[in-house]
Subunit: 318 residues, 2 copies
Amino acid sequence: MYIGVDLGGTNIAIGFVNSTGNIEFKREIPTKAFRKPEEIIEDIGNLILNMIRDYGISKKDIKAIGIGIPGLSNQSNGNVIFCVNLHWHDVPLKKILEQKLNIPVFSDNDATVAGLAEYEAGALRGVESGVLITLGTGIGGGIIINGQVYRGANGVASEIGHMVVGENYYDCNCGKNGCLETFASATAIINYAKKLLIESKNNSSILDKINGDLECLNAKIIFDSAKEQDEIALKAVNRLAKYLGVGIVNIINTIDPEVIALGGGVSYAGEYLRSLVEEHVEATKHFKKLPVGKIRLAQLGNEAGIIGAAMLGKYSLK
Amino acid sequence: MYIGVDLGGTNIAIGFVNSTGNIEFKREIPTKAFRKPEEIIEDIGNLILNMIRDYGISKKDIKAIGIGIPGLSNQSNGNVIFCVNLHWHDVPLKKILEQKLNIPVFSDNDATVAGLAEYEAGALRGVESGVLITLGTGIGGGIIINGQVYRGANGVASEIGHMVVGENYYDCNCGKNGCLETFASATAIINYAKKLLIESKNNSSILDKINGDLECLNAKIIFDSAKEQDEIALKAVNRLAKYLGVGIVNIINTIDPEVIALGGGVSYAGEYLRSLVEEHVEATKHFKKLPVGKIRLAQLGNEAGIIGAAMLGKYSLK
């Protein structure tokens, strides 16, 4: 059995995952991110001990603990280099938790870990190379090359959200202009739809759904309205799909992965989104006769965080 | 001994290369690209036989022949899928040449092969992962990952010239807008400098160097003028460096290679270009404290084509 920990800014979800990537037992607690890292890690350790007791197994049955973090890990010593949202810097996560539990601990970026989950048990299963793009508040990426998590020379590969794909009317949080994240994240489509709604002098069915309160706007409402042919929603969705297509073709033109999987909250728009993005990719990719750039929907939803974290242990111990 | 063949649209250069990547003997003939593929391949075979005779070795001393082509190879059967400039489509290059010479034949894209050369004996020596960007008439790329040529799932990886990095005032030959090739190739900087010269009503030292004939403009003249602080040349060079920086940061944000090497004709602008590009990359990369995205000049110049092609044999037989 492997343990997967999905450490988020709001909640910590922990699951017992078997060697084929199925979650057998799961619990969740609030992160309370305002606390010191040591307190949060203590909570994680205690929850794991309680779960082992309640599930009726012993520590010896756990081969490894994997932790997906919203930040960057040092693979050589297991320290968290940083998690912006948790205000963590150089936190010896592996060391503290291994001292407490005496079980091997591994950690990696949450999108990387989600990519590994899709590779083990989801949309990237059976491929030699694949990329998961997580479309949420921001955009993350997880890359598999030669059947292995690909991290790059400094562990900072797959920062796909900050690939420049055009020129945008507002700058990215990172300071650059034109990042994929500012075109194709949930935040981006909400911002753009708001802009269109304000400019359009309130002529859209979106406004009925949110009772005129732009603060209630979310990506689901925009996609739902697009499916009902609302013009503003269609314009916003098409822009997202177009630039996501540019980003995917850029990825293809760099690493030519066998499959690109779309995950994260925005991907819940489902086949409607997938086929729109596919159209843009097919129209602009090179080598149109080759099966380049197959696009699939991610399959594991929220559970990818726990499953991928657990599989981190499995692959690291290989 | 390995034989490397650099098959270009104008000339075919063939070299005998030892196992450490040094060219020991070299000859060149015109391609006469208007001919049938079989005639050109016959010429390559005959030149190799003559060189073996003249160098005083026997066919048994040659371990393999590698060929860098301006197009795409099928790695499973050795066919050339296409070379646009040579009008080749589905040409059984490996089969024909192996039948004639009875020596193992391998082929791959010319930029990929140049990347392998820089990895074996140039700017990428000793790295685990690296990218060569060839800045010529167009832009090509060669990617090394885990000490191996990286080709992608369909053999079409490293088409870096067609990564979209912004919006441009003219479309790329490929039909897209914003390709790196339209910002940072020799063709791109010439086009842009011409545009500036026409708009500026002929006020630039560039015009003296070309006697007012815009058709004589080349990248070297623009870089030379920029080094002399000519305003138009500086504007053109800075634009090239800026967008090349965007492309490099996009590559970093995808695969985080240890080193990025700049090759091709434009790279003969040397340290002046390298340091300008480095400035843009350092200013816009994430993780500024990490040694992410080291930028070097390619070291092998034109010889990269022969050396890399020869090393294709060495690595394929490993």
